[in-house]
Amino acid sequence: KIKEEDNKRKVLATPVARKLARDLNIDINTIKGTGPVGRVMKEDIYREEEKRNEKESKAE
């Protein structure tokens, strides 16, 4: 039950990071934040995008 509650708490992310994630089609819930207490910062989204781009270029 406790676990369920934990999951209910929406991921802590900065406002800019949220917008950025929406824009880049990244599911913010899958990102591990590097801000204090794990808040997802814009840098984290940029990093994720880079990772994704790398993967894509490899796939090609």
């Binding site: 708490r9 802590l12 406002p15 801000g35 204090p36 207490v37 808040r39």
Partner: protein, 464 residues
């Protein structure tokens, strides 16, 4: 339709909505029966703060010797204080009138009444006009509640509006009602030399506020010379030669005081005449609205004091902007959980989020509290204002900040950071990671945050 939106009432709710709507390219009518600016600019927030500034100055000047600035014959010129207050009010209301003009808001003088879903009649000196609008926003505000006790009709008795413009500083003043307005008025007149007595019906002044904070403020005000009676019910007022004799009952029995003036500040009630015969739902508090500021009639909105939510100017103006956003289809919900509330006494007091009592209940005691006193803050010491504290309440599980209460210098400005913190669901850790400039009063917020984990620097053990 003549107008996209008709707004009834030109207070901070109404004029903000009008200007904001005009900036969204709407055709806007604004109806005001008395003075543009409403309670807030004319007989509320602004004039009180002007009087408070003069009071603060007087206190500071009398106290300036210890900072090496001496002066003689420090005197209060009540006429000048009033003139200054009035000219600030005029400047501001003229400014708002100018803005309405520049934004091409059509302003109607007169009393508005809704006569149909899209029609409002305006009565001005027995001339009646009717205008039509797609939407209507009711922003008719509130008026002081009278008390019904014998003698309340006496010349010496009056509301805050009267008290803002007493012909002279009363030697003695009884204030019935220890809410924000009563307490600010008490601070003003006590500082300027009146003997002030507050009579509050409830067990504490400033009812809804965090108890520790309001207690601290109460004690300070008492130490400044204000007499405060709680659980005190005013029974009657009688003429007693030049004075008014106020009888009141406390737990210990009936007492009386004789004073030059009696200020009644027991609350405000919504201005509902505007509704006319339309079937708009109301409660005891005011017009009933949903989170989108809509009344039960979909194209009629209500904002500000008339909705009886939180009777604060910044709530009215925020509701005004939110109502317009909803009218233009930007669905936006009004959230009342993060509303700062301020008291401009000395020390000041400001709160946002949950009080300790509310937090305990809502979080089942799963909260952490940390208090940092301004006495340990460097900037406080340099300005000689070391009274008060910052109190942060966080939830235990995520250390999210859920309440901040400040008693102390510039509390009313410091609260802005706290409001943003709660709005952004900031955690204690993030507040700590945010560098606070030295030397500032805002460092007390940082230290209170550090205190949550017992890591405040400038105090050995934080009260928790």
């Amino acid at each position: 339709m003549q107008f996209d939106v008709i707004i009834i009432g030109g207070g901070p709710g109404g004029y903000t909505a009008a200007i904001y709507a005009a900036k969204q390219k709407m055709k806007v009518a604004l109806i005001e029966k008395e003075k543009i600016g409403g309670t807030c600019l004319n007989v509320g927030c602004i004039p009180t703060k002007a009087l408070i500034h003069s009071s603060d100055l007087y206190r500071e000047i009398k106290d300036s010797d210890k900072f090496g600035i001496t002066s003689k014959d420090v005197e209060i010129n009540w006429g000048e204080i009033q003139k200054n207050k009035n000219s600030i009010v005029d400047n501001l209301t003229n400014g708002v009138k100018g803005l309405l003009r520049q934004n091409k808001v059509q302003v109607f003088e007169g009393t508005g009444k809704i006569i149909g879903r899209n029609s409002v009649s305006i009565l001005n000196n027995s001339v009646k006009t009717t205008i039509e609008g797609e939407n209507i926003i009711i922003a008719s505000g509130s008026v002081p509640i009278d008390i019904r006790i014998p003698g309340s009709e006496l010349e010496e008795v009056g509301s805050s509006t009267k008290a803002l413009s007493y012909e002279k500083i009363p030697k003695s003043l009884a204030i019935i009602g220890g809410g924000v307005i009563g307490v600010e008025m008490a601070y003003i007149y006590n500082t300027l030399g009146s003997k002030v007595t507050i009579l509050e019906m409830l067990p504490k002044i400033l009812g809804r506020m965090d108890s520790e904070s309001s207690n601290t403020l109460k004690q300070t005000l008492e130490s400044q010379g204000i007499d405060i009676y709680t659980e005190a019910r005013a029974l009657s007022i009688e003429k007693n030669r030049e004075l008014a004799k106020v009888k009141f009952e406390t737990k210990t029995g009936v007492q009386e005081i004789s004073v030059e003036k009696v200020l009644v500040s027991v609350g405000r009630k919504p201005n509902l005449d505007v509704i006319g015969k339309l079937d708009i739902k109301i409660s005891k508090k005011g017009i009933i609205i949903d989170d989108y500021l809509r009344t039960n009639i979909p194209n009629i909105y209500a904002i500000g004091d008339v909705t009886g939510k939180l009777m604060l100017a910044h709530v009215a103006s925020h509701q005004g902007i939110t109502a317009v956003k909803n009218i233009i289809g930007e669905r936006t919900r009004m959230n009342y959980n993060v509303v700062p509330s301020c008291i401009y006494t000395n020390p000041e007091m400001a709160s946002v989020g949950l009080t300790e009592e509310e937090a305990k209940e809502k979080y089942n005691d799963e909260i952490i509290i940390s208090v940092f006193p301004f006495g340990y803050n460097g900037k406080s010491m340099t300005i000689g204002e070391t009274n008060g504290f910052v109190k942060i309440i966080a939830d235990k599980k995520y250390s999210g900040i859920i309440g901040v209460h400040i008693v102390g210098p510039h509390a009313t400005e410091l609260i802005a950071e706290a409001a943003l913190a709660i709005q952004l669901e900031c955690t204690v850790e993030e507040l700590i990671e945010t560098i606070h400039a030295h030397p500032t009063l805002s460092e007390a917020i940082l230290e209170a945050a550090l205190g949550i984990d017992d890591e405040a620097i400038h105090i050995f053990k934080s009260r928790k």
